[in-house]
């Protein structure tokens, strides 16, 4: 009986916190800026901090994943004499699955944790209260630019990840393993479609971006204003963000590519 009560309480609390997080994000993004110029400046600053500073980790990871994928793909395809299809394998794996998922996981670890820690520290040092006391809405000033920057950056980073992966894969399969250059690119050109592959991958990345950035800003805003609270909130961002990405990936893949 106690277990049922505890489960009910847990579900109730969970629903309440989801509702609170929903109201939080709606209030953040649907409040019109009072000064557009300032809001655009804040957004550009966050695009740099969240997006540009994530480029190195995304490009390096994409290149290595593309290289490994080529090695693995080649060793299997060579058994069937189809090593030219390694380009197709590489492009479809990256565009449909690996780029959005791995980029989102990297994003949660680098940008998401940084967002949570930054907002949490602003709360701990009373900067958020200070905005409120000056009659400035911290949701509009602090949360909105960070959330919008995350939603814009992650799909673009996912595309860059795909490009880096394909170039890394080409380096290994064409430059090292001796796959014909023309065959590599033409197999890719024939099998990749914009709407089913590129667009679906971008939609996935967009959904992951909303989930990860939402979790990151909410955890920072709601964290306990102590060093321990910031640490816990940052960990929660990475764990919950990663789990949300993997769970959403299954749902989206089933909806996009499942043959029901």
């Amino acid at each position: 009986m106690k277990a049922i009560v505890a489960l009910g309480a847990w579900v109730f609390n969970w629903l309440e916190s989801v509702g609170r997080a929903g109201i939080f994000i709606m209030q953040s993004i649907f409040r019109m800026p009072t000064r557009w110029g300032e809001s655009i400046n804040l957004l550009v600053k966050q695009l740099y901090s969240v997006g540009v500073l994530s480029l190195v980790i995304v490009i390096v990871s994409g290149t290595f994943i593309g290289m490994v994928l080529s090695l693995q793909g080649y060793s299997i395809l060579a058994k069937f004499g189809s090593e030219e299809a390694v380009g197709q394998l590489l492009a479809l794996s990256l565009l449909r699955e690996l780029s959005p998922v791995v980029t989102a996981l990297l994003f949660a670890g680098r940008a998401g944790s940084s967002l949570t820690a930054e907002i949490g520290l602003m709360k701990t040092t009373e900067q958020l209260s200070s905005y409120e006391m000056m009659g400035v809405d911290p949701l509009r000033r602090v949360i909105a630019p960070r959330f919008i920057a995350g939603v814009i950056c992650l799909p673009l980073l996912s595309l860059i990840f795909s490009a880096a992966g394909i170039l890394g894969g080409q380096l290994v399969s064409v430059g090292w393993l001796g796959v014909h250059d023309g065959a590599f690119w033409s197999s890719m050109q024939q099998s990749v479609y914009f709407d089913t592959d590129v667009l679906n991958g971008l939609i996935k990345a967009m959904c992951f971006a909303v989930a990860v950035t939402w979790i990151a800003v909410y955890q920072g805003y709601e964290c306990a204003p102590t060093s321990e609270g910031i640490g816990k909130a940052t960990t929660r961002t990475v764990v919950l963000g990663s789990l949300a990405v993997l769970a959403l990936d299954f749902v989206l893949t089933a909806a996009m590519f499942g043959d029901f």
Binding site: T34, R35, E38, M122, T125, E126, Q127, S129, S130, E132, M133, M134, G135, V136, D137
Partner: protein, 285 residues
Amino acid sequence: MGNDSINTYLVQMEGVSVKNAYVSVSKLSFSRGERLIYDDVSLTIPKGKITAIMGPSGTGKTTLLRLIAAQLDPDSGTILVDGQNLHKLSRTDLYKERKKMGMLFQSGALFSDMSVAENVAFPLEEHTKLNAVSIQQIVNDKLHSVGLRGASKLMPAELSGGMARRVALARAIALDPQLVMYDEPFTGQDPISKGVLVKLIKQLNDSANITSVIVSHDVDESLSIADHVCILAGGKVVAEGAAEEIRHSLDPQVKQFLNGEPDGPVPFHYPDESVSVPGLKGESA
């Protein structure tokens, strides 16, 4: 003036009557979880005067400032600021009213990504339509008034604790507010910084005729400039009156607090229900 008369004190010093209260708190109750912070508290903050709200650590002095500024909502009771109940206002109206208030936070709460000048200019840029030259002029004036005009280009991380508090004060008064609330302004300050802050608060109050509320447990500094004093303990107002009257109060709680005595009605030890002292069973320790 006896204890009873202090406790029932109505603000009457220097011709200021309760009608001139800028903030009036009536029958305020507030709790955090199971812990009752305020139990049916009433007090007044007279207009144009310096009011010191004092009491032992953990009494909820900072909480009172947040309740006055409507950052927290009371469980019951009303708080009127300049005749308005801020807790009943919409968010937009509340933010408009907050432009009339300034608050000096305990930590300074300077925006770490802005320079000193940008911090002071921020409320002006947000709430006025002044051009950049006028804003720069006001920023220079405000920084000059706290003695930090030369530090305008420094970042908050480059400031000492005392300097950060003074910059925060310049920012708090940038919009020439009617009410300025100081949260523990003297805590962690060296004697020189304390002296400078005391002088600044007094000067600002006198020159701009603003209403000042100082939350502090620094007795000497607070009493030296306060016109009106309110002492809180155990979720109640234990004394309220003019500074001199409070200084000579015979109330044991007031005396213990002002003289820093370890023994008295305010316990030094946090209550520990798991510890029972032999021989004290059934007695009040």
